[in-house]
């Protein structure tokens, strides 16, 4: 699963930074039929976690109500230099992860 994340490279200590992520995923609702009339099983990214230096800062539990190629934008307070790591899992059990590093200047 390809994903693109946007985290500022540098931030001042205490600054609120904007974090954006978009993941390439069909987010299959389970209500569509294939060409033979069989239901395509539901498969959505049901859980996404963002950790900042190992501490959870954001978690999303999603359903089929989130559009295909899910996009999320949220905020975090820059405390220390380090890594922001994303990991997610879909209904089929497939996992994905992505990371970005940030430098915090005083």
């Amino acid at each position: 699963m390809a994903a693109r994340i946007q985290v500022p490279k540098q931030a001042r200590r205490g600054e609120v930074i904007e974090i954006r992520i978009v993941i390439q995923h069909v987010m299959e609702t389970g209500y569509r039929l294939d060409n033979f009339g069989r239901a395509i099983p539901k498969n959505v990214i049901n859980n996404l976690v963002a950790r900042y230096n190992g501490v959870e800062i954001f978690r999303a539990e999603m359903g089929s109500g989130i559009a295909a190629n899910p996009y999320l934008q949220f905020y975090a307070r820059a405390e220390a230099s380090g890594e922001i790591e994303f990991s997610w899992v879909d209904d089929a059990g497939e996992r994905g992860s992505e990371r970005a590093s940030i430098t915090v200047v005083p």
């Binding site: 569509r32 989130i66 559009a67 295909a68 975090a76 307070r77």
Partner: protein, 151 residues
């Protein structure tokens, strides 16, 4: 005889608007979100306010509707937003998503894109650090629904 029948008919006609009005009031009171909200909060009271849901007034296509939900909160270690649950009135699965935030979020705001099965009202329920629940909503007109047909 016919005169009294006519009188009765006219008096019945006169009461018709009142009947219609009371029907409408009853419908307004039966909130479609009530059972869902109870499921989210576990029966705790929910106060309206502090939560804002921003969507376009009209969405051409329900398959991807931009949506921003924000909560008025200082986001300090003592007073922050724990979670935001997004509910839909008409989607086959009414709970769209739950976002868990924390004191490190800095700003209680999440932007995403949702699927909407037709013109409807959306409701966001936020739980704050002190355990209180607040809600806010938005109305979206969707010209082409998601979920219904093929593709």
């Amino acid at each position: 005889m016919p005169a009294t029948a006519r009188r009765r008919f006219i008096s019945a006609l006169a009461s018709l608007p009142a009947v219609l009005l009371s029907l409408r009031a009853a419908r307004a009171q039966s909130d479609p979100f009530a059972p869902l909200v109870r499921q989210v909060t576990g029966g705790a009271p929910v106060r309206p306010g502090r939560v804002t849901v921003d969507t376009p007034l009209l969405a051409d296509n329900g398959r991807s509707v931009p949506l921003k939900v924000s909560v008025a909160s200082p986001m300090t270690a003592a007073d922050y937003v724990r979670s935001i649950t997004l509910l839909s009135e008409k989607n086959p699965r009414p709970v769209i998503a739950t976002f868990h935030l924390g004191p490190n979020a800095g700003r209680a705001e999440v932007v995403t894109r949702v699927r909407l099965n037709g013109t409807q009202r959306l409701l966001a329920v936020a739980q704050l650090a002190d355990g209180s629940y607040w809600s806010g909503g938005a109305e979206v007109v969707v010209t082409e629904s998601a979920c219904l047909d093929e593709s």
